[in-house]
Symmetry: C2
Subunit: 398 residues, 2 copies
Amino acid sequence: MSKDASLTVPGFRAAGIASGIKEDGRKDLALIVSDEPAAAAGLFTTNAFKAAPVIVDMERIRSGRAQAILTNSGNANAAMGPDGIADARASSRAVSEVLGIPEDLILVASTGVIGRRLPVEKILSGVRPLVGALRTDGMEEAQEAMLTTDRFPKTAVRVEDIDGRPVTVLGMAKGAGMIQPNMATMLSYVLTDAAVEPRLLDTLLREGVARSFNAISVDGCMSTNDTVLILANGRAGNRPFRKGGRDGRMFRSMLSAVLEEMALAMVRDGEGATKIVTLEVSGGRTKAEARRVAYAVGNSNLFKTACFGGDPNWGRVIGAVGAAGVPVNPDAVEVSFGGEVVFSGGRGIPAATAELARVMASDRIHVRIDLAAGRGAFVLHTSDLTFDYVKINAHYTT
Amino acid sequence: MSKDASLTVPGFRAAGIASGIKEDGRKDLALIVSDEPAAAAGLFTTNAFKAAPVIVDMERIRSGRAQAILTNSGNANAAMGPDGIADARASSRAVSEVLGIPEDLILVASTGVIGRRLPVEKILSGVRPLVGALRTDGMEEAQEAMLTTDRFPKTAVRVEDIDGRPVTVLGMAKGAGMIQPNMATMLSYVLTDAAVEPRLLDTLLREGVARSFNAISVDGCMSTNDTVLILANGRAGNRPFRKGGRDGRMFRSMLSAVLEEMALAMVRDGEGATKIVTLEVSGGRTKAEARRVAYAVGNSNLFKTACFGGDPNWGRVIGAVGAAGVPVNPDAVEVSFGGEVVFSGGRGIPAATAELARVMASDRIHVRIDLAAGRGAFVLHTSDLTFDYVKINAHYTT
């Protein structure tokens, strides 16, 4: 599978500008437009407090079609009641009028502070210059306008032949904190020129997200705004494919690769993170049990601070495993750090100290937990808990 | 109800010495002895990985009788397999021989690093000087020998007349991290000269713990060693009482007060904590749902860092409420900080900024969450998440 550095997808244009929502003058308004209506699918936060743009998009995505995505950063448009919905609709209406496309083909997304009224007048006056700035190579600028506490943009591209035609899958994402199952203050868009039936697009997106964004955690917190969108405009001209066929498998593989690359970049950019910690849980009686154990360990502050300190404290791993609420046989569980077995047969194993120190000093820590009770497995990527996490999050609104 | 500063209970003696388990020469071995066999009850960690002393005590406490508690700090005697059990038994056997009381009346507890062999020879040579140091006013020294990362000892005393006789209830506890439901790296002992039937003692302890140690959280982590023990030696000479009678209610109230005072002290001493945050959740359809919401908020790192920073970020409260996995009606939920309503009717309420700043700057933050769906309620005490939490926990074994 080839990687391509070019952030363009045939038939898509994008732009990002500073509209004044962010007070420091950074870019805060992004627009992505397909030349023609595209097949579309989306996944959204399961948080009971859904932000206004999430509520609007969940309604609009049902048609399986969309043509544009308007994103603002600096304000989440969350917890604003009916005003929030009205503001989200006013924003998409402005885009609809300037672009001349139906409003219900326009998706909206917001990220930033919760509970402040969206400065909708800034968005309304920004839409015209934003549309004027649309370019096929405008993806970087659009992405820049989506970022909040991110230290770097997250993009991934794959280009492969499908049905004899080159097909591009481009992913762009923002997100650094509040990363947890079912996504997070996380906006992630996938754009492709493949022709894909909306229903198949939806299925493939769900499968891909389960193995990517729903397999990472930074701080165990789930936001009100999490959104993953995919638009497939068919410009490549391939014949629609089935899921199981050769072309379907190729597209699925490209989509998975793009989603997983973005998810891992999000963990790497986890607020204050210095390390990616991969937890590979096997031997669960079910996948759900393996997943529950993985999150219990991955969200343990004691374990996460130990990873930051480079401390091979497997006691905190078994402490979290034992408290996960899953029946485990303490004598059967095996834990290893890197390749080093540190716990087996109900007790600690004297491990090669130098090798363990090397494993823990790395910026990629791999922990394997075998529950030895079945075939359920789950892999979770998380980050360490650091001084900078506290620093970043102690003062955010004030 | 009177508070008494004297840390003595008729018929109990105690001592604490440095046996060399802690390498820095601090006290690390404690013994508490009743002059005669006492009624006894205990509650222990529900972690699947139970430390050896927990396994031993769970077996011994079934008799409803005990006479002594041997505690070491500096080593948890956890995750050591059959060796750990043998070491725990060897320790209690030494106490049994020197004191001349049956081994099965001796309870043991350990706290400290997991996964290192208990230096049992240090304990064996420490037992004789430890017994020689037993004094009626030795409780402070015993407690000092129980501490690990604690910044201060946690004690509570109540003295009241029961059946015309003065009865003392003394509590002493250690614990600062890993504080979560079902207790934590937390050892807590209650000593009383009341005469209480073992079965009633067990019932009253369970009720009291549900409202104290099982209603606090520092970091959402549950340890392998959590232990709460109560010994009632009957020295006060009161006639045994029933739960519902006047004397039973008095004793229950004294026990609750002692347990709650210790639990709150543990939160105040939470690793790195600068604030106690009390979450009062009401309006749940059930108590279990209210409890689940309370823990979702109380264990949210984003909320806890905001409390540290004095940031009235109620967005993180509703974010955690909405992700708790409990059905909630976003438009009905009301959140207040101090007395200030900050979220109601599905949206943020412009609150008095100066008043909110005062509330958040306090070292006691009170957050009320009304789910408006029923009568289930739960009160949780937690702490803020600070730089010092990370510092304390980044390097613990190494």
